[in-house]
Amino acid sequence: MRKIWMMLLLAIVILPFSIVSAKSAEISDMYWVTRNDAPVPFVRVVLNLTAPVEASASIDKSGTTTTVKLKNTKIKTDNKSLDMNPKIVKSAKLDQNGKATDVILKTPSSIDVGDIKVFSLPKDKVNNKPDRMVIDIQQKGVAPRTTYYGSNKTTPSVAVNTNKSTPKPSATVPKKPVVIPNSTTTPVAAKVDYRTSGGIEGKIITIDPGHGGTDPGAIGPTGLMEKNVTLPISMKLKKALEAKGAKVYMTRTTDVDVYGPNASGPDELQARVDVGTRSKSDLFISVHINSFSNPSVGGIATYYYEKTQYDTRLANRIQTTIADESGFGGDRGIQPGNLYVLRRSLMPAVLVELGFISNPKEEALLKKDSVQQDFADEIASGVENYFRG
């Protein structure tokens, strides 16, 4: 019965579809991320494509090798093999199998159909994303959690389909839906009672290392990526603030997207704002490196959005301590900016632009551990001053 039904459906769809499948697609990149924003953690593998493709998946008898076949697809990336999360999916490998490409995924435990989900995402012209095929595989042997990063206690766990063109789950896709927080429409809280005085000891601070994962940020003349400078400075800043008695939360501690690979801009930035809200932070610091068309432009600036009476004070205290870092193009001052993370965070916030990655001299300095440490110590002392009132 079922076979006949499937054949019928195939017959209906095959005619218009053959127009699309006539031209073959290429895989231009493959990347992955571990997602913890669901009852069961999962690994997401994303394949960038030059056109939409057909896919089918099978799991071998042992259950530890899953093959996703992309029809009429050629490999056009050097990124053919990924070592991933040893607890969820160990590796992914691309293998040209005639006209098709096989994505071979190895899992540490035996998985079944309920653990895997394959879907396509369309080309996103606004965010400059290509056609994509997404493979989600969830961790085996862990009980679903009721609270997790991204969960909302006031609403029951339901599958939120963030992309309208993602196919509706049918009998062939997992029974356990993967929950993706739709953070732009479900704010986690409306208000945070932040503190602004009484010393730094015991204060809660969220640090947001700018960009990460699929978003490199600005890229310098020698290829230095902004995301790879903001992270070490932020990790050093975490240590410096903790040494002064503050409690620190990070929006990311590795080279990952906070919301997910190739998320829309607002989703990605809201996920960062949400870290500050959930941790009830007293302040939020976003760490960035500036860039500009003219490579001789340099210097240091602090951005703020005057949503509370404290944002400007915080910006002033931090800019004073970082502005004169030796070798940089000098003090560009504090600047008002309608930046998403500043405007949407529910506590005083700043975004520091620590030099210009587009300036060869500043790019070279930003690679130095000692310069990164200086910036971290200077920001920490600015924060300490701020909490003195």
């Binding site: 459906l9 195939l10 769809v13 095959i14 218009p16 579809f17 127009i19 699309v20 939409p52 057909e54 896919a55 089918s56 998946a57 099978s58 799991i59 008898k61 259950g63 159909v113 895997i116 394959v118 879907f119 396509s120 369309p122 080309k123 012209k125 606004v126 056609d131 063109s165 993602t166 196919p167 049918s170 062939t172 896709v173 940020g217 600005a218 902004e226 829309s264 801009g265 607002p266 930035l269 960035h288 490196i289 500036n290 860039s291 500009f292 068309s293 003219n294 490579p295 432009v297 600047q335 008002p336 900016g337 309608n338 930046l339 998403y340 993370v341 405007r343 975004l351 632009e353 210009f356």
Partner: protein
């Protein structure tokens, strides 16, 4: 026992949906952009008609400086019937392209401008979203020059950006989901 999944159907259907969605999205895009430029012609020519007693008018544009210091006003005298926001921005993009280090992506054009309830809806071509360098100071000066140039016109208080007829939410970290006010602090004279 073989554990075999057939996701083919789902993906075929989804691919079909994508194709269909793609077609209709394109149509919408074209439709609304055409609509935007039509209404802009209407709104802006009405405005020009009001000012037609004088054959020449003064127009200020804010050019982003390639030394990164901000945006600077430049005053021009133009035929009154040419004094529109679309013309001012075209002028501004042209001035920028002649600098040693242009701030706007090459090829950025104005598709149309529509004014409604004191908000100028500026529709730009896709080059405006050229991803190579929408960040930091570059994004800041692009927005400041456009917003300040448009709000220089009588009755325009805020600016909302569109690209090929679709509104944009985010530009280089800037929240542009709501109409933007004048960016006075970026003006250097």
């Amino acid at each position: 026992m073989t554990k075999s999944i057939r996701l083919m159907l789902v993906t075929i259907v989804s691919a079909l949906l994508l194709v269909l969605a793609g077609c209709s999205a394109d149509q919408n895009e074209l439709g609304s952009s055409a609509k935007a430029s039509q209404s802009s012609t209407k709104t802006e020519s009405a405005k020009a008609a009001n000012a037609s007693q004088d054959s020449m008018s003064k127009m200020t544009i804010y050019v982003p400086l390639d030394n990164g210091k901000g945006v600077t006003p430049k005053l021009f005298t133009v035929d009154s019937d040419k004094k529109t926001i679309a013309y001012a921005i075209t002028f501004l993009l042209d001035e920028d392209s002649r600098q040693s280090y242009p701030i706007f992506p090459k090829g950025t054009k104005v598709n149309g401008v529509n004014i409604k309830d004191h908000i100028a809806y500026i529709d730009l071509s896709k080059e405006f979203l050229d991803k190579s360098n929408i960040d930091g100071l570059t994004a800041q000066l692009r927005l400041a020059s456009l917003v300040n140039t448009a709000t220089e016109f009588d009755g325009v208080e805020k600016v909302q950006f569109l690209v090929n007829g679709k509104s944009i939410d985010l530009y280089g970290g800037y929240d542009v989901s709501e109409p933007m006010k004048r960016m006075e602090k970026q003006i250097v004279k």
